[in-house]
């Protein structure tokens, strides 16, 4: 048995990359998502980027995406059960909202997630709104119907 003195032990501890249980778990989930649902990995990555940037800009508006809104976007994304989708465009609107948009040819499905639990599902064709409906938290799965139509018959 090798016994290390106190200073050496500390040195060894400092060399180890500290990863919390939650962080390790998140990394494992991310690695899993990136292979099973690549669109989701892409969307979450873009969402993370939005969360990390953006602030109030006088003359433009509030570009900060709150934790609550980002969580809401996560819940919307989590309600989508389709494995193979194009990666959505993830962008922000002023006032702290996030817009997800999936496009195939001239068809688009857009989900706007705005602060205070407001979610709007919109389908578009050639840039024209076909239908737009608000979704309550129990209705997020309705996005699957629009996205199935977008992807066409399997």
């Amino acid at each position: 048995m090798i016994t290390l003195d106190r200073d050496t032990r500390l040195e060894k501890v400092c060399e180890v990359e500290l990863v919390s249980k939650a962080e390790a778990s998140a990394r494992l989930v991310a690695a899993s998502i990136s292979t099973t649902t690549p669109w989701l990995a892409s969307a979450l990555s873009a969402l993370w980027e939005l969360r990390a940037t953006g602030e109030f800009e006088p003359g433009v508006g509030d570009l900060h995406v709150s934790v609550e809104t980002a969580d809401q976007v996560g819940r919307v994304l989590g309600s989508i059960k389709l494995q193979w989708l194009p990666a959505p465009d993830v962008t922000r609107v002023s006032g702290g909202g996030v817009v997800l948009r999936w496009s195939v040819a001239d068809q688009e499905v857009e989900i706007a997630v705005l602060p205070r639990e407001r979610v709007l599902l919109t389908t578009l064709q050639a840039g024209e709104i076909l239908e737009s409906q608000p979704l309550s938290p129990t209705e997020y799965s309705k996005a699957n119907d629009g996205l199935k139509t977008l992807m066409g018959p399997s």
Binding site: P58, G61, T91, S94, G97, A112, L114, L120, E128
Partner: protein, 130 residues
């Protein structure tokens, strides 16, 4: 915010919106107009500037390399928006106005359509050279 239409801002007044992100212009690659989400502020309060009063040199300093989308006050009103001055909201930049849409619990979808209608009347604005 007052949500009272300022009729002192005439219908033919040109209002510009800083297109802060690529997706705020349409089409994204070679934009010809603002996109609908440029006028879809989460609170219904879209920050704009009266083109004839704006200081584009200072705007360019604050928002380098940004495009501007332009609509008229008449087009905003026709789409269901109202316009009012908000000089404090732009941290000293002149000509700041809000192109506002009074949001309720029930009209989010109508607001989305109004934003689309307004954006389709828009153009990409080229500020006068200093």
């Amino acid at each position: 915010m007052p949500f009272i239409d300022d009729r002192g801002i005439a219908d033919d007044v040109v209002l510009v919106r800083v297109l802060r992100y690529a997706f705020w212009a349409y089409p994204k690659d070679q934009p010809t107009r603002p996109s609908s989400i440029a006028f879809f502020d989460s609170n219904g309060e879209n920050s704009c500037f009266i083109a004839s009063e704006a200081d584009f040199a200072r705007l360019a300093e604050r928002f380098p390399e940004q495009r501007y989308g332009a609509v008229t006050a008449a087009a905003a009103r026709a789409a269901g928006f109202i316009v009012w001055r908000d000089e404090e909201g732009a941290d000293g930049l002149p000509g700041h106005v809000i192109v506002g849409y009074q949001l309720t619990e029930a009209n989010l979808a109508r607001y989305r359509k109004a934003a689309e209608q307004l954006s389709k009347t828009g153009t990409i604005y080229k500020p006068p050279r200093p």
